[in-house]
Every structure is written in structure tokens, then in C-alpha cells.
Symmetry: C2
Subunit: 481 residues, 2 copies
């Protein structure tokens, strides 16, 4: 389209934003494309009619696991300086104390609570991941839903149904444009996550087909998040703002605010504007037959997935052989080249730098038997025992290894040589974290923030979410006393 036709379609035609009169048809395309399927309408019909009773048990189970994992990282991140700063910025303008900040005492209106809890759950980048799309599925959906559940009573059935459907929407829509949208530069968790929050909220509100489409349209027009922001606090802003944008979309649509009925697939809709490729069958195919949440994965270690296989192997050998640092002569790691490309810091000096050091990661795994946020503090990374062992870690490139594989060889001072080959690290879809491991992760994250008995109560509430009369109890239990 040239400048003339751009002007034709904008400044010259601008007029009242009321419904009724369609915009004049644009000039004919030189190479007309086949009309896309009615992705927005088809998805909306599925969401509107989907019932809790239709969910397979595996989806309900995974929802509880996702909720528990999400709540742990949200509470765990709640005292990060990122939250303190954001809270200071929004508090003077916030509404009534309708919903709590998890792990904290403050209460805000539901919109701002969702923003803050969404940021909090992503500051450690330790939340759940859909590896196909790089969407962190819970981060935009759960804070929106929990805020709604504190504001108006939501049953456990309705909560789980809305959560599964929100994740369904955002991950399907993201899949339709993956990897092209991410290559353009969008952060999928914010750019597609807004649909998750909108659909989940709209389902709680009981919107009909037309209003569900309007909510999706209002979400489509508010994508959040450029990948340029990775490495700054703005990255965790993305899921928080996506939660808020999605809630606003649903709440506006509920009152009759109109939008496009084809916000996803229209010529100038979300998929065409944000991405160079579109695969709409990812959105419309097999609805209700398979669920995106089946694919959800949880990180056992508080660092990039690229070093998880190394950590997993080290912990296995440590636990099986009751290793202590003084027993070890040296550790040899064979890894995929990407591991060295991304995490080859020899002398990390801060917790964050430690996350980019496969040497430190192997050492701390042997020393601590875990690799949570506590193991990536500044103090842990500079501890002399860790530094000494880290200096005895060597790496080689294993040419036949996949990205998520690693071979760990530990040579002991007594002459023994221990070996472990990791095919898939724990936390992958193939070797998911067990419920017990998820509980341990949760407990580590909330330690020092929630009392032990409160933490145990919150774990039980998450496991039993679908049997709850009032899912808002979960949010209330997650606030600091």
C-alpha cells in the first residue's frame, strides 16, 4: 500500500466511533488471499460453551499444579525491588482495597493487584513455560483470575475452567504465529498473554458470544511487550500489564463496549499486524479435544533452561553418593554448544551473573543439592566453598548432544569416577516435576515470607482448588498476615 492509499484509509475517512456503518472497502489487493477462517468467532464459541464438566482430569490436575507453581513464584518474588518500585508508583492512584498482593500486606483495586501480582510472578523468571511458544501461561491469567475471585465469589469449578480456557486461548493464539511473531520482536507472554487474561476474565463474567468476541478484540488492540526489554524490569511488567489489559478488555465488553468481531484474523487484525506468518488451525483445530495446559512445564531451578540438565545430573550423583565438596577432585561437563555460548561466565560475582555460569551451576548443585533463588543470591555465588569447587569444573562440547542433554563426570579424590547422562532434564515435559518437587519448590520460595503453617495451608488450597466453594480463599491465604 502506498502513501496515498494509507491516507485514503485513515485521515480522510476518520469519523464517529459508533457501530452500524462499516468502513468503506479498501482498494482491491493486488494478490487477494483466501479469507482466513473465523478464528475469533470459533474460539469465542468454544470458550462460551465450555464447561468444567467437559475438562479431562489431566487438564484439571495440571491446572492445580500450575496454580501451585505460580503461587510459589508470585509470593517468592513479592519483595523484589521491582515490586516495591511499581507499588510506589501506582499506590497514589489505586482504587479500593479489593484484592491482596501475594506475600505482602498491601491491598489494591483488582486491576492494580493483578498488575503487581503478575510482575511479582515473573521477576525470577521461574514461572511455568510453554516450550513451544515461550509463553509463560499462568503469569497473565492467574493474577487476573485471583483478583476477580477476591472481588466476586468464584467457585473452584469456575476458577479452574476459566484458568484452563485462558491458557488455551493464549497458547493457541501464540502457536498460530510462532516463531514468526517472536522473531519480529514480540514477547509472547505479553503479546498473546493479553488474550489469556481477557478470555479467563470474560468466562468468569459469563459473556455471551458477541461480547466474548469484543473482549478478544479489545485484547487484540493492547498487546504488550518488546523483546528489547529483556534484561530490565520491564520484562516482568509485560505479564502484569497483560493481565490488566485483558481484565479491562473483558470488563469493558461486559458493559457493551464494542470492538471488532474478527480481532485476531482480520486483514489488519492482531495476527497480521504482529506476525509475518499465521496458522489459524492452531487456534481452531481440535478445540476441546486436546488442551494446551497438558504441555505446561515447571522449572525446578532458578536459572535458564539451558543449564538444567547439568544441574539435574549433578544433583542425582550428589544424592546417590552423598557427595560433599571436599570429596571432589574435578567435575567435567559435556554440553551442547549453546550452553557455552550463553552461560560461560567463569568468575560470576553476583547472583544474576551466577545464572549465566554453568561452572557455578554445577558447583552449587553438588554443594546444595538444589538450585533455587537462594542458591543464586550474591552471597551464595561468592561463598569461598562454591568458588573453590566452581574452579574445578571443566566443560567440553558434546557434538552429538541435544540442547537439553548433558553428560556429567565427577572424579573423586579417592579415585572413583561417577557418570550420569541426562536425556531430558527434570522439569521438561518428558520428565515433569513431581507433585512433591513442586511442593518443595513452593516451600523454598515462600520461606521467610509466609509462616510455615500458612504455607502448608496455601499448598493444600491450591491442590484442592477445584473443590473450593470460593476460590478467593486462595488469594486471601496468600497475603502476608
Amino acid at each position: 500500500m502506498n502513501r496515498r492509499s494509507f491516507i485514503r484509509n485513515t485521515a480522510l475517512v476518520g469519523t464517529t466511533a459508533a457501530a452500524g456503518v462499516p468502513q468503506p472497502a479498501p482498494a482491491a489487493e493486488p494478490t487477494p488471499r483466501p479469507a482466513p477462517p473465523d478464528a475469533t468467532g470459533t474460539l469465542a464459541r468454544f470458550i462460551v460453551s465450555a464447561r468444567f464438566e467437559d475438562l479431562p482430569e489431566a487438564a484439571r490436575t495440571e491446572a492445580a499444579r500450575s496454580l501451585l507453581n505460580w503461587m510459589g513464584v508470585a509470593v517468592g518474588g513479592s519483595h523484589h525491588e521491582t515490586i516495591d518500585i511499581a507499588l510506589a508508583a501506582v499506590t497514589p492512584f489505586a482504587g479500593p482495597p479489593q484484592a491482596g498482593l501475594f506475600g505482602r500486606k498491601e491491598r489494591l483495586d483488582i486491576m492494580n493487584a493483578a498488575l503487581l501480582n503478575g510482575i511479582s510472578s515473573h521477576v525470577f523468571d521461574f514461572d511455568d513455560t510453554d516450550l513451544l511458544t515461550a509463553v509463560h501461561p499462568s503469569a497473565p491469567v492467574v493474577p487476573a483470575l485471583l483478583a476477580m475471585a477476591e472481588y466476586r465469589k468464584v467457585s473452584g469449578h469456575d476458577f479452574v475452567n476459566a484458568m484452563v480456557l485462558g491458557i488455551e486461548a493464549e497458547c493457541r493464539i501464540a502457536r498460530a504465529v510462532t516463531p514468526a511473531m517472536q522473531d519480529v520482536g514480540w514477547h509472547a507472554t505479553g503479546a498473546a498473554g493479553v488474550f489469556g487474561a481477557a478470555v479467563a476474565t470474560a468466562k468468569i463474567l459469563g459473556l455471551d458470544q458477541t461480547r466474548m468476541c469484543h473482549a478478544i478484540g479489545l485484547a487484540a488492540t493492547q498487546p504488550v511487550g518488546l523483546r528489547e526489554m529483556f534484561g530490565s524490569m520491564t520484562k516482568s511488567f509485560h505479564p502484569g500489564r497483560a493481565a490488566q489489559n485483558g481484565m479491562l478488555a473483558a470488563l469493558l465488553a461486559e458493559k457493551g463496549y464494542t470492538s471488532s468481531l474478527h480481532g485476531i484474523e482480520a486483514k489488519r487484525g492482531w495476527a497480521n499486524v504482529l506476525s509475518t506468518e499465521q496458522h489459524y488451525d492452531a487456534i481452531t483445530g481440535d478445540l476441546g479435544k486436546t488442551y494446551e495446559i497438558f504441555r505446561n512445564s515447571y522449572k525446578p531451578f532458578a536459572c535458564g533452561l539451558v543449564v538444567h540438565a547439568v544441574i539435574d545430573g549433578c544433583i542425582q550423583l550428589r544424592n546417590e553418593n552423598k557427595l560433599t565438596p571436599d570429596m571432589i577432585d574435578r567435575i567435567d561437563l559435556a554440553v551442547h554448544p549453546i550452553v557455552l555460548e550463553l552461560t560461560s561466565k567463569r568468575n560470576p560475582r553476583t547472583g544474576l551473573e551466577g545464572k549465566f555460569s554453568v561452572y557455578y551451576a554445577a558447583a552449587i548443585a553438588v554443594i546444595a543439592g538444589q538450585a533455587g533463588e537462594a542458591q543464586f543470591s550474591d552471597a551464595a555465588v561468592t561463598d569461598p566453598v562454591a568458588v573453590a569447587l566452581r574452579d574445578r569444573v571443566e566443560t567440553t562440547i558434546g557434538k552429538s548432544l541435544a540442547q537439553d542433554q548433558a553428560r556429567v563426570t565427577i572424579k573423586l579424590k579417592d579415585g572413583r569416577v561417577l557418570n550420569r547422562f541426562i536425556t531430558h532434564a527434570v522439569g521438561s515435559v518428558q520428565v515433569p516435576m513431581t507433585n512433591q518437587q513442586l511442593e518443595a519448590k513452593f516451600t523454598n520460595l515462600v520461606a521467610g515470607i509466609l509462616p510455615d503453617d500458612r504455607a502448608r495451608h496455601l499448598i493444600d488450597l491450591c491442590w484442592n482448588v477445584e473443590r473450593s466453594d470460593d476460590a478467593g480463599d486462595i488469594a486471601r491465604a496468600a497475603a502476608a498476615a
Copy 2:
């Protein structure tokens, strides 16, 4: 970038959103581009150091004209159902009554007030326009600034300076990607307008260079608005949400929330992600030497610009010849083909349809001598006198005519033939509306919403904005008693 490198850069590397450790360098580009200029930093430096005393008189004058025009459309649109719906949606979650809704009695927190006033100012699509970019410059900037000015005292000097600078930022950034960004499908007023609101708010807050860059980065990650939404209420949502997003960006940056320092020009920054072309000299060239606001234009008629030349010609002939409908035999219009392509509704039945009928537009111009919102009501469009005259309007295509030209020929029953050729319609940059015409437009728009004496007072406040001790007085005067 292929799928492997996408995964490499996202899921595998995700980690804490603290500053300090740069992301690992991406794989080398096959065809490296020259590094873009430091557009974000250069713009920020200009904004941070720019003083009211540096503004040329023409910029200050145009700021007052823009403010008056904007306030008229904001008050005029304030009782549109779009506002009632949005207000119903946000009120339960809104914060303290810090800022007023113009033309109404309600007060909301500054964020929600900016959202609502931003929507209100665009529902008629009767606000100011930068014809180069199709940005409506005031719509994201002024509601943010007026809300801030009600919340904390802002002098007239600071208000005008921030307003000019906000418009400077959004229009320069939009120019850097026009028309490619609009062709991709973005609504420039929301997608670039967010920078206007962020920069204007950040200037009021007195942010330093680094925080100004962070505010720009936080704005960059929150563009609003797909062109698909044109024709629904969501179009006017765009400037309102852009105002709000920009304010949030500035308020977060003020407290120390970090973002990219290169949000505009980075490889995965705003300009590369939203547009297929980038001309950074539009952002960095001649800063402080020429001002975008010089180019601002105001619509005299409440319909698309495409029919403004016809209306202008009809009104001129009517006024010069004291025409009444019963004197007229027929009206012949020679117009550019685009006029018929876009506004050829022969039998409009609603006010909105009337905006898409050049026949009705010519008739009502002769009958009423104006074409404001009142002339595009359902009743006006179906009035028998208008219908009768409308049916006596004929059109031909004038092949040599430009888009903004028209030839109007009125044949009277007494045999006289009146001719008028319009080279540029009133309201264009070449034939700007006079101050008197802007006042008349304002008065028509606010009639029935604000009492006459209040309207007069508000006009005076707008003209004298730069001499105000407290620009919040303007906002307070614009609220309904």
C-alpha cells in the same frame, strides 16, 4: 531468524529481570546493518533540557489553539454512550477522585480520568490531526497533562512546554515509520501517541536523562491500537489508553523502574517491531529548530476530511448570496474520485451514514451554514428539507482535481449560476481555521453541556493557558457543575 535461534533467545535464557548482566549477544546477522543513531537518547536529551523560554511564539500560540480545539471535542463527546459504557466498566475499580471528567460531574483517579477524557475527545473523530502521520496529536497528550495538572500544581509555562514536547515526540516518532507502520495495520494515534503521553508526563515530573529514556522504553513496550478496530468504539479507546499507558510509563520510571535505554531504535525495539521502515532522522533532526505542532490542523466539520472542500464551497456561496434551500434548483459537485469512493451514500438514514454522503454534506452546508455534530444527528439527516435538497445534488469526477479540492456549482431557480473552486478547504494547514472559527466550533460542541458563561470562561482559560499560575484550573473549569 529460524526457530532454533528464537528458542535460543527466549525460553532457554529467561532469567531474573534485574539490571546488570546484559543478555548474551544474539547470533551474528547474515547482513549486518549500520547501527541506528541513538534516537531514544537524543530525543530524551532534547526533552529533558527544553525550556518554555526556548519555544517560539508560534508553537505557544498553536498549543493554545490545540488545547481549545481539544477541549471542545472532549466536552462535546462526554455524553456519548461510549463514555457511559467505559465509565460503568472502570468506576468500581477506580481510585480517589483526583481529576474530573470534562463535561461531566464524575471524578476519578488521574489514570482513569485520562482514559475517559481521551476516549471522549475522539468519539466524534473531530479532534486535531497531523496530516503527515494521521496522528491526532492532542488526544493522548492533553488528557494526561490535564489530569496531572489537577493532581499536582503545574504552571502554565510548564503545561505548554510539556504539551508541545509531547506532541513533538509522538509526531516525530510516527514520522520515522510513516506510512509503513500504518500499512502494517497500526493506528498511529495509539501506537505512537503513547510516547506523547509518556514524554509530556515525564517532563512534568522532571525526570532526568536516564529516567526519561526508561519512560520512553516503558511506552515503547505498550503501543495501542490496530486499524481493524476502526468503526467500533475501540477506535476511541486507543488515544485514551495511550494517554494512560504513557502516564504509567512516566510514573514507573520516576520511581526507578528500569527499561531499555534504546526502546525506539534497538534491533527489537519499537520502530523495528511495529514497522517495516525506519527513518530515524525524523526523530533526531532539527530538534528545537522546527516544531511538529506547527503542522497541526483542526477540523471545522464533523465528518471525514474528504468532503470538507465541498462543504467549504457550499458555505461560502450560501453566506455570500444569503441562500435558502427553496432558492435552489440543483447543486453540481466536481470532486476527486476518492470522494465518491468513500462518501457516495445516496440515501443516508442515520447521522453516521450522513457523514458518508457527500450529497447530504452539500445540502446541510447550504441549509445550516455549518456542519458540526448537530448537523450529523439522526434527526438532521432525515429532516424533509435536507432530504429534498440532498436529492438535487449531483456529482461528477473532476480528473484534474486534487483530493482536497472541489468545484461547487449552484444553479438557482431564478436562473443564476454560482461557482466556487476550493483549492484547499478551511481547516487545512494552508487555510487554517481562525481563532474565531475555533471558538465557534467550541461553543457549538459544548452547548447544552456547559452553561454559556462557563463555556466563555473556559475559552478564555485556554487562550491564556501559558499565563496561568495553575493549569489545573482549566481542568476544573471543564467539569460540569
